[in-house]
Amino acid sequence: MERIHEGPLPWVELMASFAAQPAEGALASFAGLVRNHHQGRAVSGIRYHAHRGLAARELAAIESAIADQHGVRCALWHAVGDLAVGDCSVLVLVGSAHRAAAFAGCRDAIEAIKARLPIWKEERFADGSTAFVAGVPRAGLQKNG
């Protein structure tokens, strides 16, 4: 499946198909799900906007970096478009022979995604209004890259 995926991620299926590696004893995962609240307001859904080309390339680069740095297998996906409460927006899967590397890779991957992916959340509130989430300046700019 494309790393940048239109609509909610089918995370259960993605996990099941990622797992079948007989040399790996540890599978760490992180799934980001749409919450029904943010900073005290009731949220009914989120529209994810993206620079799809750059976001896909960043995900691929993060996958490679995590695999190299931690000696693990890593797969990453991020949703774009309209998601409802409970839908999966981001999925990090890390397989490893041992658990320490799996946990470290999983944690580093989600932090890199949040620091680097050109993606924007537009929240829909219970009253029908919408607003973009206040973001963070993109880290690790690879200028002219």
Binding site: L54, I119, G135, P137
Partner: protein, 81 residues
């Protein structure tokens, strides 16, 4: 030269559109485009120091030269995850 500015995420709201054509001198860089955009939107001007830029699907420097037909993407502060 003529370029297209892609207004991504909250930048859509600053300019009221997804795409914006800009007419620039032939020696223009990303910085030249920024200066012209600053005159169009106070909300953009306020946030501009926190923006990144991409040119034709590659991350760009403010000194990167533009070219006829270039696509310049505005990358406001991100909220992935």
């Amino acid at each position: 030269m003529r370029i297209t500015v892609h207004c991504l995420g909250p930048a859509q709201r600053w300019f009221g559109v997804d795409e914006l054509p800009l007419e620039l001198p032939d020696t223009a860089t990303v910085q030249t485009a920024i200066e012209q955009l600053l005159t169009l939107s106070p909300a953009y001007a306020e946030t501009e120091p926190m923006l990144a830029y991409a040119l034709d699907e590659q991350w760009a420097d403010r000194r990167t030269p533009l070219h006829e037909g270039a696509v310049l993407a505005l990358i406001p502060p991100i909220s992935a995850g």
